[in-house]
Subunit: 767 residues, 2 copies
């Protein structure tokens, strides 16, 4: 122990070494050496310089990517392409305690299908909330293709807050996309199915199977979707695909494309041609054009029909009232993308070579004039393709998805079969540039590219095959997101990012400075319902109470102990533990896990979370903090004791371990006194400088002050026991006093280093 | 359609554009511009150049990191620090189908605790299999701290193959570590508990609670642990911590350190000092020294005792037979690290400032002479600290874990409280360099650093707090793994990598060229049992059969259809679907998910996987391929029809969609003939060149040949129907023929581009 304190007293002699090292400079020839050794070209170095973010630096944009069948959301930085977070959405994820604590289980339970827990989701299309058509960074919505559901993620804390189940769809692809002020979030079905939950044979496909598009009402005040104020428009049994909301000139309208308007039903096992043949035979499918504002008015006027609890505008009403129209589009398209001003709609077919640019002005005029080219089998008016077109451009084999640049008239289209991206001008209708990607690109993402103000600069190609791009990791490959510099005339490939978990389908990127997430929660916060938890506890108020047959443990977590450290219950008891993390420090998350129980909590500063379980087996079950939260995190532990049914409670007595004497006490106190001197000198260093100008240091000082107060409490206990000559307790409380001193020193040294590295100045004293 | 073919006929006119762009050069002043714009220093650019891996490049090392309470394993490349894969180990993960298909459910079921499914693990310490003390890249082992379990991951396919449950521990920290030829994998308990599964009050802690270390026997031939040939050594109720195996001079021995040898039991809720105080009061804890070779012999000789099915060498036997010894170590240590030659053991205490270097030669001599300093309360001989020491070095506040460099006598120790890494010489006992990290580093990882031949070059600091290092993503922060260049005299910080999911505790890194994972499985492979699946199917042999009350669906997956496309069952049926991916192409994984059922499969090329479920609700449930596997992946779909209980099977008739005529047929055939000409020209381009010199192209040609054969089959069907004047089927099969042509073109174009980009040469023709 003397060493520890001595080292503290010596100050930062050892630390000093590294400070010198970090000021060394590196010349050009050294860079040449590295290039030679690593086989890098000038272009590689340029790409490295364009993407590298030094330690402590910030990325300019944050991308939110779906995780496909991982059921998660992936957050990464641009241009560094470093993944910052996976967010649990439809799939339980233990690191976040998602689906393990009672609070998040309640969110997942909202997503049950006919009472059944669904343990994954096929997330496809994330959408960030918008204000006046611009990304506002407040909320994110993401869909589940497999079990039609929509989730709401709050970007204040990057947590999933709500899941709504679509009661009439059986699969879903065309969401989430938001209207210009996030009044509604769109969700369009994919594979036709009966609205009812009943069996309907495929011989009644044309009559009884249906597509649909749902407009979920979002209440921004409470940050939740309101199913009771949402509605659906019934559609023909085509396979509806992606959607987009209109804006500007097309405000009030939404667009959904489709494939398999042939209404073909495969059956290769019976010798019939497969779906892929029958669903791609016709040259065109239909872009669905919907006047959603009018649909909402009709629903409000009682013209809807309730189906499985959802208000549905039936097709015949939609047709009669002029809500629904069809427009031919090249077959098997994927993606309908409205221009920033809302005037142009770009669509391309995956078996085609050109992109079509429709002009909404022309479309609207045709609708207004009721100038239709025909009707589909369900009576939906069809607009004339040529009369609606602005232009068509040859962009390559298998064009898929188009994203907008900040430069006027400039777009990028992913070309699946050719494995490339084509940059083109949709006003003049000409190709500007192409770039090979690796390989078979699905969706594209520009920065805020589907808002009214795209930010340009970067483009990401979400490639579906990686094949040979990375070190091999077995038959299941990562995906490859390629970052492309679009700031110049020519696209330049900058970076290949493997996606290590999940198969992203679509992503959106927002300027990082629009996000202002929280560092901590208000103390005792239920983050899933956004309110004070009824189970919150303050330090010193921890308790175990039995109520209505449930043993409630109201506990706290702090560096480095769990209160309570011993929990004894009777076999068969239902136990509900509730822990509040009483830390104020940023990043001081604690975990809590009990052996044999599936109890596993992640408790960020301020949060209160619960886990309820039945103590069905008698025995001894250690528990501990799963986060490496301090030097003594392994000692942040406890025991759950489950005594056999009917056995009376134990005395609470414990075995005696090591015994301490007055000499031990005195030795510890001497150490603590020396340690305090060091702390005082560190505090002196900090307070003599303009530390208040550095927000991170202000937080550290706050945290250190907390620890010193705890140390004072322990010191008091220690001294009281010493007065009573209880050397056992006096020594151990003196040790606890020291433990708080170590935590203070840890924080103080971080603060001191920060000030040193950031050029803090001495402030004048007032005397 | 004409466009598509025309474009193909035009060749790569558009593609050519990007080829030109990629040959542009970038001068130094452009780099200066980027540096200025992004605020990069010379040092930043050097770090960027040292870590950037250009598209298609390879990382030099692969790191395998535990995922903490995510229950997963994380694989990333060094120096690029790009995460390549998350591997599901103890936690179900739907992207991999892990815990969703029957085969992987069986692996997770091996990890049940007392019959209970445990849905996560707290993974801590991965270890790669060794041959003669060197990493061999064959297998990886990883532990679960919360529910003492050990998993075996096969590095042939990066999949979890086995989970074994420790039957006598209740928590576990000191594993996995392997012996020099991977004969055994070590697992040491953490928090003491009774070996029995019974309730034992804490008043009997000293007598009835125990620690333990288990030696799991690994059978390399079958790639599985053999519980029946494994054994455990009983230990005192200290909190055992990390372990390491001896090698060279210390071969046959293993080492496990510990904390809380005070045997203190907290109870802050009752006014007792917390565990953290009582467990860190004594100046020293005990390094446990075990002669495991002798222990194994004693077990073989029948000196063990069976406890819960495990052979245990009880403490009194271990003491009597000279198997177990204690050596004082600075209190609350973390990590015991044996030098490459096996002679030195480095240990440091987290509340200390110095690292201790023990000399095994001295230890062995003391043991041989029975020169003991005393006995612990259980009669275990204690060696003298000073007599065992080689040297002690002041390394900083809160030293934790030491890793070895390839340079002689050179090690790196993580310094938790000081937030730095210290480089020092353990032979001469002096500090060489220090480097600040961000922040509070836990474990360290050098390349193959715990093998007999460390590879040097890079060091990774696994920091426990990130705080302000990255763009904020809410109260729960990513971890920060910092890459450090250790090739020179001074350590240089290169890169900050956020860990987006999980809280890694420990990681190991292996030279990438030692790993030779598979690209695909043998056709019909059960990857979890490593044998042909009894449920495999070949194309054309798909069938649905009812056996023993279960409806078995034997199906296949290929671009872009599922066979069968329609499955009809009766409500209440148990359905077991078995799908074989019949692709040969690399990265052509297919997924399979059914609405409403939790059926979600990932089927890599060659694999056969199954999902068994009860069709408990009547209705219509679409299914589809969840992987974007081809241009028409959305059309890779089908329907599960569950008719109500008692209803007789449907006729199988389907609605009629679009009707086709002879004209449609002729038009499609004309397209196909043109397309074939293009394919022939691409084939001509490829075969005229030395494509056989390019392995990836050989694979592509193989795949393209498969597609052309499929096209020929569809063509035949189409023509047969045309002869019969069945224009509906003739047209659709002609479309299917075209679909295979598109897939061929896709592959052919990728091959052509590859040859263009890699300088393929014309080969002479033989005539």
């Amino acid at each position: 122990m003397q060493h520890f304190t001595k080292h503290l007293l010596m100050g930062s002699a050892v630390v000093g070494l590294s400070m010198a090292a970090s000021s060394a400079a590196f010349g050009d020839d050294t860079l040449q050496d590295v290039m030679k050794a690593r086989g890098l070209t000038d272009k590689d170095v340029l790409a490295a310089a364009k993407t590298y973010v030094p330690t402590g630096g910030r990325d300019e944009f944050l991308a939110f990517s779906s995780g496909g069948q991982s059921g998660q959301l992936i957050v990464y930085g641009i241009p560094s392409m470093r993944i910052l977070k996976y967010i649990g959405v439809f799939t339980p994820e233990p690191w976040q305690g998602y689906g393990f604590d009672d609070e998040s289980k309640a969110v997942l339970a909202q997503g049950r299908i006919d009472g059944k827990d669904i343990k994954f989701g096929d997330t496809h299309h994330p959408a960030i909330s918008e204000t006046n058509g611009e990304y506002d960074g407040q909320y994110l919505f993401i869909n589940d293709k497999n079990n039609p559901r929509l989730a709401v993620v709050d970007l204040k804390d990057f947590e999933t807050k709500q899941i709504v189940v679509n009661p009439i769809m059986k699969s879903e692809h065309g969401g989430a996309f938001v209207s210009t002020n996030t009044e509604y979030v769109i969700e369009a079905s994919q594979y036709p199915a009966p609205f009812s939950k009943k069996y309907v044979p495929l011989s009644k496909f044309n009559q009884k199977y249906r597509g649909a598009v749902t407009y979920w009402k979002f209440n921004r005040e409470i940050g939740r979707i309101e199913p009771q104020n949402s509605f659906t428009v019934e559609l023909p049994p085509y396979s509806q695909d992606l959607s987009d909301f209109g804006k500007g000139i097309s405000e009030g309208w939404s667009f959904t494309n489709s494939f398999c308007t042939e209404r073909y039903i495969g059956g290769i096992e019976s010798g019939r041609p497969p779906f892929e043949a029958g669903c791609s035979q016709k040259d065109t499918d239909f872009l669905h054009i919907i006047n959603w504002k009018k649909a909402a008015e009709l629903i409000a006027a009682g013209k809807g029909k309730e189906v499985n609890g959802m208000q549905v505008l039936m097709m015949k009403t939609a047709i009669k009232e002029g809500v629904l129209f069809m427009l031919p589009e090249a077959k098997s398209p994927h993606g309908i993308d409205v221009s920033p001003d809302g005037r142009y709609l770009i669509v391309s077919g995956k078996l085609d070579t050109h992109a079509s640019v429709y002009d909404f002005k022309k479309i609207k005029a045709l609708i207004d004039k009721k100038d239709f080219a025909g009707k589909d089998p369900y009576g939906v008016p069809i607009l004339d393709l040529k009369k609606s077109l602005h232009t068509q451009v040859e962009v390559g084999l298998g064009p898929l998805h188009t994203q907008y640049d900040s430069k006027p008239c400039t777009v990028y289209t992913s070309i699946y079969v050719d494995s490339m991206v084509t940059k083109w001008d949709y006003c003049k209708g000409k190709v500007l540039d192409t770039l090979h990607i690796h390989y078979n690109v699905g969706h594209l993402m520009t920065m805020e590219g589907d808002s009214v103000k795209p930010k340009g600069k970067y483009l990401v190609a979400l490639n579906k095959l990686a094949i040979d791009r990375f070190n091999p990791v077995g038959p299941l490959h990562p995906q490859n997101h390629q970052l492309i510099d679009i700031s110049g005339d020519k696209m330049e490939l900058l970076y290949d990012m493997p996606v290590p978990l999940g198969e992203p389908h679509y992503a959106v990127a927002i300027a990082a400075d629009k996000l202002k997430p929280k560092i901590r929660y208000s103390t005792g916060w239920n983050s899933r319902t956004d309110e004070k938890s009824e189970y919150r506890t303050r330090p010193g108020r921890e308790k175990i109470v039995k109520k209505d047959g449930v043993t409630h443990v109201y506990g706290t977590l702090i560096r480095s102990h769990i209160t309570p450290e011993i929990i004894e219950v009777e076999q068969g008891d239902t136990v509900s533990v509730h822990f509040t993390n009483v830390e104020r420090a940023q990043d001081e998350t604690h975990g809590f896990a009990i052996n044999g129980t599936n109890v596993n909590l992640s408790v960020e500063p301020g949060k209160t979370v619960s886990a309820t379980f039945v103590a069905d087996k008698a025995g001894v079950f250690p528990y501990y903090c799963t986060e490496f939260c301090s030097a003594l995190h392994l000692e942040m532990q406890g025991y759950l004791l489950v005594r056999p049914k009917g056995m009376k409670a134990s005395s609470g007595k414990t075995s005696q371990g090591t015994v301490y004497t007055e000499a031990d006490y005195s030795k510890q106190v001497a150490t603590n006194v020396q340690t305090q001197e060091v702390i005082d000198s560190v505090v002196g260093y900090i307070t003599a400088r303009n530390f208040k100008d550095f927000a991170p240091v202000v937080s550290l000082v706050e945290d250190a002050t907390d620890q010193l107060n705890f140390a004072a409490d322990a010191k008091k206990k220690s001294e009281d026991y010493a007065v009573a000559k209880d050397w056992q307790n006096a020594t151990l409380w003196a040790q606890q006093w020291f433990q708080y001193q170590v935590k203070t020193a840890d924080i103080g040294l971080r603060a001191k280093t920060y000030l040193e590295e950031h050029g803090a100045k001495l402030v004048e004293t007032k005397d």
